[in-house]
């Protein structure tokens, strides 16, 4: 393999290599969703319908937060340690760099979703009418969204303290408005309108479609497409912040 593809794959391998030397982070990324889904199942021991309602959207929210965090910290480190400056003086293109990250974190999110959904749909007995594979597809789409948002956050933070504060600032409001707590249609119209503008709403809508409908409907594909469009927009905006020349 040569050229652009080789540099992209090399970058993905490098990012995964960094995580491989940090097994605790990987263990936490994989175990925490499983523990939380188990906890949720225990909380709803006597309300299994409520577990079906909340358990599936959470499968989409885990990759968003996990990938947001690792991306924002990883990119902040690239910016502050000088490695980004060095990379941009090599033949590596900015798009190749981002695709490399997307490959690495997309794969990680897929494994995370595989583990969490295997547990949740299996032993925990979450009732999903639709295809298990689409649960993974949606989770990976959401992971790419998390990556785009993390990349943007890294551009607006000067320290790791700041960058982690972007998580509650950008993700918690979406969590309140995404339809997990209350169906979006039952919210005050102003909030419903705001929730229409937020990507997590579509991730949760997609999971709701998957829980309720056996076949993949146009609505589900629409939700996935919207999540991916938000992800692409965030990644492109983030790419614009990877300046070759800086002050």
């Amino acid at each position: 393999m040569r050229g652009s593809a080789a540099r992209t794959v090399a970058t993905a391998g490098r990012v995964l290599g960094q995580l491989r030397h940090d097994p605790r982070t990987i263990a936490l990324m994989m175990a925490v969703p499983c523990v939380l889904e188990t906890l949720l199942r225990l909380v709803y021991s006597h309300h299994l319908i409520a577990f079906d309602h909340a358990g599936a959207p959470l499968l989409a929210i885990f990759p968003l937060t996990a990938v947001f965090l690792v991306t924002s910290i990883a990119l902040l480190r690239e910016r502050t340690s000088g490695t980004l400056e060095r990379l941009l003086t090599t033949p590596l293109g900015r798009l190749e760099l981002l695709l490399g990250y997307a490959l690495a974190f997309g794969a990680l999110a897929a494994v995370q979703a595989l583990l969490a959904s295997a547990l949740t749909l299996g032993p925990l007995g979450l009732d999903v009418a639709g295809s298990d594979v689409l649960v993974i597809v949606l989770a990976v789409s959401v992971a790419l969204l998390g990556m785009g948002m993390g990349l943007l956050a890294s551009a607006f933070a000067r320290s790791e303290f700041q960058v982690v504060q972007f998580l509650p600032a950008t993700i918690l409001p979406q969590l309140l408005l995404c339809g997990l707590l209350l169906e979006r249609s039952q919210m005050p119209s102003a909030l419903h309108f705001v929730s229409d503008l937020l990507p997590m709403s579509y991730a949760v809508d997609g999971m709701h479609h998957l829980t309720r409908e056996a076949s993949a409907t146009g609505a589900l594909w629409g939700d996935i497409a919207i999540v991916l469009a938000f992800a692409a927009a965030a990644l492109l905006a983030g790419a614009a912040t990877l300046r070759r020349r800086t002050a």
């Binding site: 050229g3 090399a10 970058t11 391998g13 030397h21 490695t83 003086t89 090599t90 300046r243 020349r245």
Partner: protein, 241 residues
Amino acid sequence: MAGEHGRVDTTAVSAEQVEVRRGHVQALAGVSLAVPAGSVTGLFGPSGSGKSTLMRSLAGVQAGVKGRLTVLGRPAGDGTLRREVGYMTQAPSVYEDLTVAENMRYFARLHDAQEGDLLQRVDLAGQAHQLVRDLSGGQRARVSLAAALIGRPRLLLLDEPTVGLDPLLRRDLWLLFRELAGEGATLVVSSHVLDEARHCDELVLLREGRLVAQLTPAELVSRTGTEDMDEAFVRLIEERS
């Protein structure tokens, strides 16, 4: 190409009235110079004199560069230069959470090149499988240097590569720089230790963003009448003011 410690007729880098403003600071104020191809050119001056800004401008990563800056016949920062210019930043810019060998493999793959014996040449073969974060500062700097050498760049921009190293290692690195020049590369090496000036073919002396002088070590000695490089620098500045 270059004769040892001699002038050559081709120019690898030229600057004409280069100005850079960083915030409220005039980091470079009208610097003009020429770096002969195949030479080891030392960029000397105290901290804050504009050495790193000049390096960054040559590497094409500095924003707001005014004036004309030509690198290997092209404008500094030209995309085609990324295969021909090796840049070592002042802080070691390698991945701390990877081993030395993993860092080298990654940068080699970005250049579609072989890493070859570079780790031996910077005396780090024994540390290949250690994580960079477990190395000493001097060892990290040498990993960063080795990464800049990947792909046999025609121009090497090395920002303070010898800082913090023990004298024996410093001498070995200057020998390595000489070897690389002998293999046809042009080196621009910055340092704030004026004593290292004697290892260079050409000296570029900077102070407060301005060029104090560009000359050979022999010219510096004859012009200032002292072998003591610190003292020579002081005399040059006094001569100008």
